[in-house]
């Protein structure tokens, strides 16, 4: 895929299995978004072809788009319309009408946990709420394939956790999910297959375990101990079990884990008015 003198995607050959949750990992400018734009039929590749099942995307982009639910990186919402109106507009664009549309709008409100805010203007929502709505708008037509392009940009840990839960649920329900990000921990947390891209090329593609097996010489386990045990006591137990080369480090977990433990996992939608960027598309 060439833009002027820039080759954004170069000789990419990637097959994504139906029903998988594949992480497309790469730094900024790796070509992830361009790849997904080709899959979604937004850009026609300068060379090669993209197929979704047996459909050639270049020839039948509209047929493919009915199968896809794309969550764009930007907050593609109308800030001067209400939450419900946004859902209705995007549902209607996918051909939903009447009772089915109303049912799917209610489903979307529940999914985004915005039932109480359905009459609020989107411009007045917090960043996290907008992200959740952004996801819900893409899923109203019940797509078979869900493409998430960095959906967690600028969200609080609670909303991120909610988005992760939603994506896992979509996967469990049998949908194929493609998830792009440049955050390793997101891919680790969600994906069963990982493709790593950089400079428009595919560098690696395997299951998460397969990729880690190829690069790691040691295995790290997490060990939970009851309060009162010292490091020495735990090491003693491990040695007694025949694990002589064990190394034990004390860790209090990631900052995100600490934050979630202290502040809880419940969503904080009521704090939107405290947002300094209230009304802005963040």
């Amino acid at each position: 895929m060439v833009f002027g003198e820039v080759c954004a995607v170069d000789g990419l050959s990637l097959e994504i299995e139906q029903g998988s949750l594949t992480g497309l990992l790469g730094p900024n400018g790796a070509g992830k978004t361009t790849t997904l734009s080709c899959v979604a039929g937004l850009i026609e590749p300068t060379e090669g072809e993209v197929r979704v099942g047996d459909i050639d995307v270049a020839r039948e982009p509209l047929r493919v788009q009915r199968l896809l639910g794309v969550v764009p990186q930007s907050l593609a919402l109308y800030p001067t319309l209400t939450v419900e109106a946004n859902l209705r507009v995007f549902g209607g664009l996918f051909g939903l009408a009447g009772r089915l549309l109303s049912e799917r709008v209610d489903w979307g409100l529940t999914l985004a946990q915005l039932e109480a805010r359905k009459t609020s203007l989107v411009g007045n929502l917090s960043g996290g709420m907008k992200r959740r709505l952004n996801l819900a708008c893409a899923l109203l037509h019940d797509p078979k394939i869900v493409i998430c392009d960095e959906p967690t940009t600028g969200v609080d840990p609670q909303s991120r956790n909610h988005l992760f839960d939603t994506i896992r649920r979509l996967h469990r329900e049998g949908r194929t999910v493609i998830y792009t990000t440049h955050y390793m921990e997101e891919v680790e947390a969600l994906c069963d297959r990982v493709a790593i891209m950089d400079h428009g090329k595919l560098l690696a593609e395997d299951s998460l375990e397969g990729l880690l097996r190829g690069t790691e010489q040691q295995t790290t386990f997490q060990l939970k101990v009851q309060r009162g045990r010292t490091v020495e006591e735990v090491l003693e137990i491990l040695r007694a079990a025949g694990i002589e080369d064990a190394e034990l480090k004390s860790s209090s977990g990631s900052l995100e884990q600490v934050f979630l433990r202290l502040t809880g996992r419940a969503l904080r939608d009521g704090d939107a008015s405290n947002d300094i960027c209230e009304g802005a598309q963040s």
Binding site: L42, L62, Q65, R66, V70, S74, A76, L77, Y78, L93
Partner: protein, 423 residues
Amino acid sequence: MKGLFWLIRKDLMIFFADRQGALMTVLVPVVLASLLGMLFAPRSSSTVLKLLVVVQEATPPVRDFVAAISAAETFDVEEVDEATARARVGAGKASLALILPVGTTEALQPAAMFQGKQRHAELLYDPSDDIEATMAAGLLTQVLMQETMGSLSDRDTMSEMFGDLESDLGPDADAQLKSFLAAGRTLSESATATKTLNTGAEQGGMQPPVAFDRVAATVTGVASQYNSYAHNFAGMLLMFLLFAGQTRAKHLVAERQAGTLVRLRLSPASDRTILLGAALSTTAVALMASAVVYAVGILVFRIEISGSVPGFVGVLLCQALFVGGFGLLLAGLGQTEEQIGSIGTFVVLILSFAGGAMFPSFMMPEWLRAGSQLLPTYWATHGLAAMTWRGMGFSEALLPMLVLLSSALVCAAVGIRRFRFRS
């Protein structure tokens, strides 16, 4: 101080980075000032008034009078029959028509100036252009007087005139007047008599033998139906609908920048459908605005739809479609909201000005009047005038509708072709 310098420099750099915007900042006032200057500048002596002339009595004096009008620099004369003259002025296709009735020959005799009996000739005019009619009446009187007075320099004519006047006097006429006329005849027989003419007439002195009665012409013949609000409502509505088209174009570009356009493109709607939707939503807004504006005009300002109601609705519909296409064209021409703002304002003002939406077309120079017929805005205002106060039939709405519809299609086609879905 250094901080202030850099703040100013930063703003100037941003200003000049948008070259198109910077250019428009100076171009718009220059062009508008030139056009307005042209509009309000005093009419030069070379201004020519188009005049249709109907001759109902083709005698040599009348022919001479018409020739004199034609010879005057101020008139561009075309001889037509009465029906044509009434139809063309009524339809606004000509602004003036002079009907010289039977009896004009007699009125053009020099003696008629002193007989106190004026002949009346209709000067038909477009009711939206009464200034030009007033000017034309004055100029025609001037030509008439020059022509009639010129014949007084002929000794035989003068002698004949005094003889006629003497014979017209009754037995109880004033003795002094009789004596004056006898002296005048004697004088004209022996010398040039023109110097004596200002001394009196039978009843109150000399007067123009023909009065040019200004008659506002409409197709239905009901002059009172002209309502200046009709023109202003049509013009202002059109101008602000074009600005609404500009706003829609800005929204479309804003959608591109915000990302919602991507989401629309991810739906089964094609790119063309998305743009067509944008144009038709603008059309719907334009129609709603038109309905409200004309409702106020009709209820409050007594604007009447004296012509064809379907024609009126048709012109409004085609005008709204044109506004939709115009918005799409601007979205295709400007890459940013700022560019659309500057290009759009310029184009809207020019289209409104030259199309007669801001000022009546009679105020414009002739070349601009002729050139404005190439603009869809001219046909919009013309079509609405035809269907409202001119009281014309549906057939007169067809050409404006066709022009507006064609313009809408061309604008939409260019807009769709040029619009970039990616920034």
